[in-house]
Amino acid sequence: MDVSIRNVRKEFDRFPALHNVSLDIHSGELIALLGPSGSGKTTLLRLIAGLETPTDGSIYFGPEDASLKSVQERNVGFVFQHYALFRHMTVAENIGFGLKVRKGNDRPPNEQIRKRALELLDLVQLSGLENRYPNQLSGGQRQRVALARAMAIEPRVLLLDEPFGALDAQVRRELRRWLREIHDTTGHTTVFVTHDQEEALELADRVVVMSQGRIEQVGTADDAYDRPNSPFVYGFIGDSSTLPVRVENGEIWLADRTVGLQVNDVPDGNASLYFRPHDITLLDGCGGCIAGTVATSRRVAGTRRVELEVGGSQHRVEIELPIEHVAAERSRIAFRPTRWKVFPDAQDSTA
């Protein structure tokens, strides 16, 4: 089921949570909504489900306008952050609930509901636990039951809110892989919300990076990591260092020195230079480079992380050096980024 979000705006008590968001989700896709808290990702998910009504704009499921329909009519599978399992029902009753509450001819007979529940329990690898109550399950098991319950109604879209947020790291990794497998087997169009970039980049076909109620970038993990299109995405995904620079005639200047990098799509004026700590090359002399003195040096796994104080204003940037490099304190290091991007500073204060 294709899902199309068109110019959706959402305000809570006049406080805007989403500003004119548009997004196309393709049928069968596994998509991640990634952003810090308060970025509007959960609001967007709840709008797709119908648990919130948009202030403006509409949401299409295939050709039909789903925003006119209630949450019951939308037929979505929603997995809640804390699972929201029905605490007084057994696992099997939880999974069968969506079928049990159907009306008239749509409601399957009881034994068929039970059979379907057991099949799904098998799919989520929890066979034998059908008579347990939610408080007798571990966090990871509850998560699986919540997913089975959502899939029981054969939803058109599967929506997961921070699916692994409440689990410990080990279980998280395991369930992540398992969710990907389930998705590949069942082929549901799936949207999940996360603030964990590793989770989003590893699991999703495409990642939607959100910030302050806006979509910053939509793309594959490679797009988001290698070709960030905004300072926010550069800063949010992966490590990055930034320096205030000046662009003049396509040449990048750091204070009164040229860095030795050229741009042609950035207007003259103040700008910010972004690069990743490991995308640098060390230089000996400095006829066009960034030079600084070592402030701190830390060993991180197989590399050495060095913080440099650059220029008179003493901006700090982080770079990664091979272990062999001594990087003694107060010593001088010159380098130039190999992959980088320059974003012009906003001309006015509105952005």
Binding site: Q72, F78, A84, F86, H88, V101, A150
Partner: protein
């Protein structure tokens, strides 16, 4: 819980085992560092028990002793009186009307307060507590002012043949007013803690609003609800002040059991007064026993619906 407890115990065992090797074992009786001394425990417990015995148990015993002072025969004889029967019937009728109505309105009010955000919510919450903070006599007087001969509503209703004051409707209204908070007060914190996510889950699975309430909300609050109803019922049958003002004390017609006890006592008919009082006290005891049985039998489920 059980798992945690054993886990802690095993850690404690390890610790004490490790220490036992270094320090000389002292026959296992070390004082618990976070507990009071034995003397303090005994003194505190004894004080509490003595107080309870004096204030609660002694009066209760006195009621039964007085009722049976002239022997069981006189006890049953004094109960066998048409006015007493009518008082019992009226009390049961009032409870049978007031308690179910308060059950429904209590659930509705708790639902609204716990699950929705709306303007005036804080005001409504305060309003629910009003009957607890107002003297019952005032509650009765309010109805006299509303429906009395000098009011606008009273004569108008009377012209249609509807009597509120000094009749069943007035007693029911006054009882409802006084007992309203019990159900709602019991449910609001429970429902607030449980939140709305299970309801949202039910809706997303296609359940209608009614199905969601019936299959999800109600089972989650059933124990709290039962508590509230029990307390509400006990108070509804025992209410004196508010009912006294609106009832008019018409023997055999508008006398409830508590009012009847007072009338009998004022007439120096002590055995009969205490005999009816034993019925009320018995009711209170039955309520307590039922509550304890519920807690004992379904303690786990009550805990489970409070937590998760």
């Amino acid at each position: 819980m059980v798992l945690e407890a054993t886990h802690h115990m095993s850690v404690a065992d390890d610790l004490s085992a490790g220490r036992a090797e270094k320090i000389k074992p002292r026959d296992g009786k070390r004082p618990n560092p976070v507990s009071e001394s034995f003397g303090a425990k005994v003194a505190l417990t004894g004080l509490a028990l003595a107080f309870l015995a004096l204030v609660l148990l002694l009066p209760l015993l006195a009621v039964f002793v007085e009722a049976f002072r002239k022997g069981p025969a006189e006890f049953f004889l004094s109960l066998n009186d048409p006015d007493t029967f009518s008082a019992i019937r009226l009390t049961l009728t009032v409870a049978a009307i007031a308690v179910p109505l308060n059950l429904v309105f209590g659930v509705v009010a708790a639902w609204a307060i716990a699950k929705f955000e709306f303007k005036g919510k804080a005001f409504l919450t305060t309003l629910i507590d009003l009957p607890f903070s107002v003297s019952p006599v005032i509650s009765g007087l309010v109805y006299v002012l509303l429906f009395g001969a000098g009011s606008a509503l009273g004569p108008w209703l009377k012209s249609y043949g509807i009597e509120i004051l000094f009749a069943l409707p007035g007693i029911v209204l006054a009882t409802m007013f006084v007992t309203f908070p019990f159900v709602a007060r019991e449910l609001i914190p429970l429902m607030q803690e449980q939140g709305t996510s299970e309801e949202e889950a039910a809706l997303s699975l296609g359940a209608s609003g009614w199905q969601t309430f019936w299959y999800v909300t109600l089972p989650n609050i059933k124990w709290g609800l039962l508590y509230g109803v029990l307390l509400c019922n006990a108070r509804a049958m025992g209410e004196f002040g508010a009912v006294s003002v609106v009832s008019g004390h018409i023997r055999g017609l508008t006398n409830t059991m508590p009012l009847h006890v007072e009338i009998l006592y004022n007439e120096y008919n002590f055995v009969a007064a205490f005999a009816v009082a034993t019925l009320l006290a018995g009711l209170a005891l039955v309520t307590l026993v039922l509550k304890s049985i519920l807690e004992y039998r379904y303690g786990d489920e009550i805990a489970a619906s409070a937590k998760h």
